[in-house]
Subunit: 172 residues, 2 copies
DNA sequence: TATTTTTGCAAGTGATTACTCACTCATATG
DNA sequence: CATATGAGTGAGTAATCACTTGCAAAAATA
């Protein structure tokens, strides 16, 4: 692995576990086994390093949601949406944790990227004859975000019962 | 207001808006119109200042949940729980935002304090004849946390429709 | 092979960090 | 009045912060 990437992944892991402001560039360098100056040769500054990480994260999110956004069967949309948080690859765990952390630490909303997903949920609920499709979509999204957060903070198993429960509830 | 309290409220506001690690004691002192040294006369260190804030926050949370924990009518429990996020006093806004921020920035769970509330929800669902009371309680809790977070980040109005929607959904 | 470009490091930079110290002042108590 | 005490300050402290510089080795290009 190139040192440039070692820096990025070290920063990702540290940012995700300790937070952006709590991690110094010196710490990143030591964790990546690299001189501190090299960070600034490859990235403009600390913020630029974070931007590079978020860009990669954005790609991963895009891929993850792609299957759902392409799906045409409303029931299948709901099923895939519910199952989604439970099928996040462990190797991408840090990316997800960082999303949640930054959402609050730096007030990076992430809402814009989610909107197409929520819209698709709304459409699915509409197709299935739900009266208040929009509210149903917002509510399910809240629940799924809560589940994802629960998985990140307390582990997989704690949220597992909610998966089958939701699948049953929405009959998918 | 005593300077000791001015420090506390200045720190609360700054921590809530910018985050714990992003705010220096120098900044707090200037914001509170106080010498930096005074912070450390009244509080052991920066962490001690945060602890004092959280202690006050804990009392507020306790009061807020007290009404629900004392309630005996299951329907009324659900109704009060759903309405709760919408009735947070604006003067306590910073306390709430700080809770969410610290939950992720410093990984302070807050789960322990919530557990009696979730248990009460479960009991209410059980009384109302719901099959999977525990899952219903966890799900509603996730939704309500999502709504509270939405109120804090995007404002009251954005979540308003979900209130009446939930009240209707649970028939309370 | 000669020359340029990229990659990398060690040792810096000034600014900022959390925190301490020596001290003054106001009030209270004997 | 004399003295003890706690509130308050402003100038420090060493450590750490994000970031820069000078220079060498390596790699790519000619």
């Amino acid at each position: 692995m190139e040192k440039r990437d070692k820096i990025l992944y070290a920063a990702l892991e540290l940012f995700a576990t300790e937070g952006y402001n709590a991690v110094s560039t010196n710490k990143i360098a030591k964790y990546a086994n690299v001189s501190e100056g090299l960070i600034f040769r490859h990235y403009k500054n600390k913020q630029g390093l974070l931007d590079a990480i978020l860009e990669q994260a954005f790609e991963k999110v895009t891929v993850l949601y792609a299957h759902i956004l392409m799906e045409q069967d409303p029931k299948e949309i709901l099923r895939k949406a519910i199952v989604l948080p439970f099928e996040v690859d462990e190797s991408e765990y840090h990316f997800w944790k960082l999303q949640f952390k930054l959402k609050w630490e730096l007030e990076i909303s992430g809402r814009e990227k989610m909107q197409p997903f929520i819209d698709k949920l709304e459409w699915a609920f509409q197709e299935l004859g739900y009266q208040e499709a929009k509210n149903e979509a917002e509510l399910l999204n809240h629940a799924l975000e809560g589940i994802a957060g629960g998985i990140i903070k307390q582990g997989f198993e704690t949220q597992e019962p909610l998966k089958s429960f939701l699948l049953k509830k929405y009959n998918v």
